[in-house]
Every structure is written in structure tokens, then in C-alpha cells.
Amino acid sequence: MAIVLFSLWGFAANADFADGLQAYDGGNWAAVLAAWRPLAEAGDAEAQTALGGLYLGGTVIAANPAEAARWYRLAAEQGDPVAQLNLGDLYIRGSGVGRDLVQAYLWLSLAAAQGRSWPERRRREILPAMTAAELAEAKRLVKGWQAQR
């Protein structure tokens, strides 16, 4: 019974997200938010990543990099690689968060560890700008994060 209920809940959640995606394609911004925000607030990493993107785009919602970073962080902490690489990118740009190459390295590394090549390239780009101490700290954070998982 519990399995059946869980499956139904999962189906409903997916249907909601799909509705939001269709509305996004069709330019129905109110419906996009109606579908994705509740999911994001309920902890759905995919919806959180989507919402983070909307806050950077500025079309569906007024651009707000700080809010984008907040949603990306929530999804990134759940292991979403797209949220991780975007959060890392925001740390490099100092957009929505203070510029912090250690944090950037951390989040890009976590995304790269999931087989993504873009964060791997982006991480290589920031290496020359990092001090030895920063790099050591970043590697320590990565190790600590991965050990927690």
C-alpha cells in the first residue's frame, strides 16, 4: 500500500514538473511558477535547479542572482550536478554570492565528479588565480564533502 501511494505521489510530482516545463515552453510564466515553486519549496532538487535558472534569466521572475544562488545551493547540497556547476560559476563571478574561488572549486569539483566535463573545464580556468593555500583548503572541503556522502 505504501509503495503504491509513494508511486502515485511520484507520478503526481513528475506531472507537475512536466506541466511547468510545458508552460515554460509556451511562455505561460504564471503557470511555470505555479508548477515549480511548490515543488522547489517541498525540496525537489530538479525544481530548485529550475527555479535557480529562472532567477538568473529574469524573464519569468525578476532577475535576482542572490535568490538564484539560494535555490542552486539547496539543490546542490542534494547532489544535483547542474545546480552544483551553476553555483560554482556564481562563486567565480561573484554574482549573488561573494566571489570565492574556494567555494567555486568545491562545487565545480562535486559536479565534475559526476562525470560532467563543463565544470571540469571551468575548474581548470580558475586554478591559476588560486593560491596554494586556497587550493589546499578547497581540496580539503571536497574531500570532506565526499566523505559525508
Binding site: 512536466a18 509556451g26 529550475a50 534569466g57 542572482p65
Partner: protein, 366 residues
């Protein structure tokens, strides 16, 4: 499919009707407010008007702050990068101020109604404590164009209609009057970006310039997905002369690309069935009424082997978001989320192999 359409229609129409109502009320309120002297004095559009609070550097409330990233011209939003009202605040995302449409941007910045009353960047937000409001200050504030006596030639509040400095001099032909009909700042006018929503129409030149400006950003954004088509599509042949508004993709401006195996795309209605390996890509951007632009998704169609999916005519649909997300792909992870792509493309005639064709006027020759 019918039920999905009905659902979309109903969820689309209700907010539209509500928005139209809000717009009508908003326009009515704005037209009432616009004739108030204090309001008009805040009009940053009165370009060469000596009453323009943005005209003189000394009196320009926006000129001073060195940290103002938008210090040029008359930025009423002088705040730091954390200010969500600061048009320069965004960055690192899929929005671009650099590529904003100048005509729309100018109209929006000049529009004294551009922001809601609660927007602290709105120089017309009437609260006395609003530091952006040059009329809010005390009477002794030399920057306050309303502070001076009525005989002050720069005082736009000097009430006489014949005062050329008075932007409220009521005649419609007064170029200082923000309600003058042809004035893009007119909150009642059709040019008012705060009026009702709806599609934003760009000229061909604007569409082309905006697209060219956004191209590097598109390339960088879609590449976050690691998708091989997202990385390579920009080197394919383009079949649209310039970016055009696509009703089937939410009014976004799009361009059509096809790889070598899909070169029959250039035959349009006569393209026939596409071979396996044919790939089509459509990048996109949105334009807001205030001229700001932002990236939309990259829409991808790949012709797979025969039998891949009967209902999709063996096409695989993928929608790549500007932050690199791929939420679904036909017959792959999250397939249900892009099912609507199949439904929509099925509406074309069978001879078109589920491919939607771009409007005649935007087609390039083969």
C-alpha cells in the same frame, strides 16, 4: 492530447484576462497620477528640459555615487549590486543587459511608471523617504527641483501652464507633458512598457542585432549541458535569415539550424522524410517590454533509427535550458516531461515528418 490543450488553454486564459483587467485599472490610475506636478517633475525623460532632475550633474541624485555601476546617464537605481532593482545587478546568468534592445530600454527607463510604486528605484514612488525621489527631499534641498519658489524657472511645479519648465502644462502638444500622446513616457500610451503585457515586437534589425549580441552567451550557456549538439549546433547551416518570433515556443525569438544529414530542411514543404542522423536545433531568447533580453532553451530534434518511436516519427526531442539542465529526452530519462513536444509536432501534415517550418519571409535559399 485534446485534454492537455484544453488544460493549457484554460490555465493561460485566466491569468491573461486578469492581467488585462489589472492593466486597464493600472493605466487609469497612472493617467490620474501623471498630471500631478511632483510626479511629472520626476520624469527622467524630459531629456533636454532644464527641469530634468537628471540634467545637471550637481542636482542629479544619481550622479554622485562612485560605486554606482550604472553611473552613466540618469540611473535612478544607484544602489549596489545586491539591489534587485539595480538593472546592472544581474550577472552570470542567462539575462543580458548588454544585449538589451536600445529602443525598448530607452522607453522603459524614460517611463516614469516603469516601476511599481513600492520599487525603491522608481523616482516617482511617492514616499518622501525615497532617496531616489528628487521631489521627496526637504524644501531646502538644492537638488529638489520642487523646492524653490514658484518663480524659479527650473521649478517644474511652478504652476502656470505657460511655464515652459512645467511638465504638467496640460496641453497634449507640450513635449514636457508626460501625458502628451506621442510621448513614449506617457503612462497611457501604447509605448508604455508598463501597460498590458503581450509579445514584444522587434524590427528585423533589432532582432538581428540582439541575436548577434547574445550568440556568445548562448554558446556558453547551452554548453553547460555537456550535450554534443549544444556544443556543435552553432557551426551548422542556419536556415533562418534572422531571429523571428515563434508562436509555438512562447513568443520567443528563435533561429533554425540543421546538420548536414538534415540539409533537406532547406526544401521546406518538399523536404520529405528525414534520414536517421538528421539533427535540427533551434536556439531562443526572450525580450521583455523594457528591452531586457534573456536566453531561452535550445530545442533539439534528432532523427533516430526506424522503430525508435512511432508516435514521434522516430524523432528524439530534447530541451536544453540555459543553465545546462536537460529535464527530459524522448525515450530517455524524464521522457514524460517532453511528451508535449511530440503532441505539438504531430499537428503538422504527415508529409512534413513532424517538422515545423519557419515562416516564408525568414527562409534562406538552399
Amino acid at each position: 492530447m485534446q485534454s492537455t490543450k484544453s488544460k493549457l488553454l484554460s490555465s493561460t486564459m485566466v491569468p491573461l484576462v486578469m492581467m488585462a483587467g489589472v492593466a486597464v485599472v493600472g493605466a487609469a490610475v497612472a493617467s490620474q497620477v501623471a498630471v500631478r506636478p511632483a510626479y511629472a517633475a520626476c520624469n527622467p525623460c524630459a531629456a533636454k528640459n532644464p527641469c530634468n532632475p537628471c540634467a545637471a550633474a550637481k542636482c542629479n541624485p544619481c550622479a554622485a555615487a562612485k560605486c554606482n555601476p550604472c553611473a552613466a546617464k540618469c540611473n535612478p537605481c544607484a544602489a549596489g549590486t545586491c539591489n534587485p532593482c539595480n538593472p546592472c545587478a544581474a550577472g552570470g546568468g542567462s539575462a543580458s543587459l548588454k544585449c538589451a534592445v536600445p529602443r525598448l530600454r530607452t522607453a522603459a527607463l524614460c517611463n516614469p511608471c516603469a516601476a511599481k510604486a513600492c520599487n525603491p528605484c522608481n523616482p516617482c514612488a511617492a514616499k518622501a523617504c525615497n532617496p531616489c525621489n528628487p521631489c521627496a527631499a526637504k524644501a531646502c534641498n538644492p537638488c529638489n527641483p520642487c523646492a524653490a519658489k514658484a518663480c524659479n524657472p527650473c521649478n517644474p511645479c511652478a504652476a502656470k501652464a505657460c511655464n515652459p519648465c512645467n511638465p504638467c502644462a496640460a496641453k497634449a502638444c507640450n513635449p514636457c507633458n508626460p501625458c502628451a500622446a506621442a510621448n513614449p513616457c506617457n503612462p497611457c500610451g501604447g509605448c508604455n512598457p508598463c501597460a498590458a503585457g503581450g509579445g514584444v515586437e522587434l524590427t528585423n534589425a533589432e532582432a538581428a542585432a540582439t541575436y548577434d549580441c547574445l550568440r556568445p552567451m548562448m554558446k556558453a550557456a547551452y554548453a553547460k549541458s555537456d550535450n554534443r549538439i549544444a556544443v556543435s549546433y552553432a557551426s551548422w547551416r542556419r536556415y533562418s535569415k534572422r531571429a523571428y518570433e515563434s508562436a509555438t515556443h512562447g513568443g520567443r525569438y528563435v533561429q533554425n539550424y540543421a546538420n548536414d544529414k538534415a540539409r533537406a530542411y532547406g526544401l521546406y514543404e518538399k523536404s520529405g522524410k528525414f534520414p536517421a542522423g538528421a539533427q535540427l536545433a533551434k536556439d531562443s531568447f526572450s525580450v521583455k517590454a523594457n528591452g531586457k533580453v534573456s536566453l531561452g532553451p535550445l530545442f533539439v530534434m534528432e532523427k533516430m533509427h526506424t522503430g525508435f518511436s512511432k508516435e514521434s516519427d522516430d524523432w528524439r526531442y530534447t530541451m536544453i535550458m540555459p543553465n545546462g539542465s536537460i529535464f527530459g529526452t524522448t525515450k530517455g530519462k524524464g521522457a514524460a516531461k517532453v511528451q508535449f513536444c511530440i503532441g505539438c509536432h504531430q499537428t503538422v501534415t504527415p508529409e512534413q515528418d513532424s517538422v515545423m517550418l519557419l515562416p516564408q519571409e525568414y527562409r534562406v535559399g538552399r
